[in-house]
Amino acid sequence: MIFFLILAGLSVAFSLLVVFQRNVVHSAMALVATLFLIAVLFLTLDAVMVGILQILVYAGAIMVLFLFVIMLLNPEVLEGRSVVWWVLGSLAALLLLFEFVPLLTGTAGPVSGPGPADGSFGSPEMLAQSLFSDFVLPFEVASVLLLVAIIGAVVLAKRES
């Protein structure tokens, strides 16, 4: 419990840093730290697979691309905040809050007690089983979506030159 509180507090602190920092690279690194801490939270919940995938995909791949783009564009100073964006952003945040409050208060407490005792919970075998039997259609659709994105990127790059 103490461990959870420390982790949760740190991840909230880092995610606040993401938003409130002026330096874009500092924000990106704070986001990496947040994602890493969330992965550790998954580890404490015995969901090793999810935690490792969180690091591999988000902290390790997506954020590297973010940094790559930031470094190539090198935004020296951020543009001043415009009122329109400020209002729109606040509205979106409020909407999200109204979505979340009933969810958090309405559901029953967390299901307590450990998962299946044989340690197979969240194992790659179990994940693969459900991915390739119950969820095979969404899985394939997602891979086609990625393929479309790759081809689109290639087409755009070709047109440039």
């Binding site: 690279v25 690194m29 490792i52 902290a59 590297v64 940094l67 470094m71 340690g119």
Partner: protein, 361 residues
């Protein structure tokens, strides 16, 4: 409870101790070995009371003292915080990666069975790749925080190179996973103790020779050393991503590179060369294919296995240093072409061929 925790702490400390010290010793091997290869004398100046120990005093005592007491220069227009954090980010991943690499079988101490591996994760290989993907940050952030054209170029090159070769690396391991049917490294090492046609050890190299070549190439590229040293590129970019680093921080980049070599060697050993397996050594002793047996006490068997693992790791460390001092460098476009147009398709083909063979068997 306390004893279990103590055992885990002892294993973690032992592995950290071994990797850090091997990294230091590799620094010595690199300097003396390169001298041997190039017919020079190499480091021989420093000595304690006339004892130079083949340059050991020079590289293991004099060099670190010099580096640690040197002025730590941070570029005035650079980013102080990230400039300091970057070497830590470069040093951290190779050290923690070794946690899932098994360095021996189960050690029985009385009633207690100790698995000679720091963390037995059921997603061992994914853990390794996740840590490898984190090692990009040290370079990118270090390069950016230095506020220097050369280092930024090196950082961009380094991140592109590491992302490209991570893909080939991951796909090349796929064949091994299909053969042994598990992600756990201890299971993979154990499965390699079997015998094929009752005489050939079932090591990964015999099932997946192509995967070994691909993995080895990608692993060398990940360590960013010659022939893949484009992020550093001393002749074009001065020192690439760590051009603005001096003193202890430079030492961390430098030692991190050697720790990466050690970790890569441990991985190659575990995946393709039987890990801690000694050919024909079972739990109770040697069972040779020609029928002879030699029974050994449990402790001797475990020591032999740990010793075999160490010897194999040292061999691959030496091989990587040998490569670094005998091959010319690639050009940057050649590195990219090799990664995307050679290694990646070959790895995909290898996966398909393995799948067909497994189904047809």
């Amino acid at each position: 409870m306390m004893i279990d925790l103590g055992i885990i702490a002892a294993k973690a400390l032992l592995v950290l101790f071994m990797v850090l010290n091997l990294a230091g010793i590799l620094g010595w091997i690199e300097r003396k070995g390169s001298a041997l290869i190039q017919d020079r004398i190499g480091a021989n100046r420093a000595s304690i009371f006339g004892f130079a120990g083949m340059g050991l005093v020079n590289t293991l005592i004099a060099d670190p003292i010099k580096l640690l007491t040197k002025e730590d220069f941070i570029p005035p227009k650079g980013d102080r915080l990230l400039h300091t954090l970057a070497p830590c980010m470069a040093f951290f991943p190779p050290l923690v990666t070794f946690a899932v690499i098994p360095f021996g079988d189960v050690l029985m101490l009385g009633e207690r069975a100790i698995n000679l591996q720091v963390a037995n994760l059921n997603v061992g290989i994914l853990y390794i790749f996740s840590m490898a993907s984190l090692s990009v940050y040290g370079i990118v952030i270090g390069a950016w925080a230095s506020n220097n054209k050369f280092s930024l170029l090196g950082g961009v090159r380094g991140s592109a190179q590491m992302i490209s070769y991570e893909i080939a690396m991951g796909l090349s391991v796929m064949g091994i996973l299909m053969v042994y049917g598990t992600l756990e490294l201890q299971e993979i090492a154990r499965a390699q103790g079997e015998l094929l046609w009752s005489w050939l050890p079932a090591w990964g190299i015999f099932f997946q020779p192509v995967a070994f070549l691909l993995f080895f190439t990608a692993a060398v590229a990940e360590t960013k050393r010659i022939p893949f040293d484009l992020p550093e590129a001393e002749s074009e970019l001065v020192a690439g991503y760590h051009v603005e680093y001096s003193g202890g921080k430079f030492l961390m980049f430098f030692a991190g590179e050697f720790a990466e070599i050690v970790t890569a060697s441990g991985l190659i050993t575990t995946l393709f060369f039987g890990g801690w397996q000694v050919p024909f050594l079972m739990r109770d002793g040697f069972h040779f294919p020609w029928g002879a047996t030699l029974f050994l006490p449990h402790l001797a068997v475990v020591l032999l296995q740990v010793g075999a693992f160490t010897v194999k790791v040292l061999f691959f460390c030496w091989l990587q240093i040998l490569l670094r001092w005998s091959l010319p460098r690639f050009r940057y476009d050649q590195v990219m072409r090799l990664g995307w147009k050679m290694l990646l398709p070959l790895a995909l083909l290898n996966v398909m061929a393995t799948a067909i063979l497994i189904i047809a068997w």
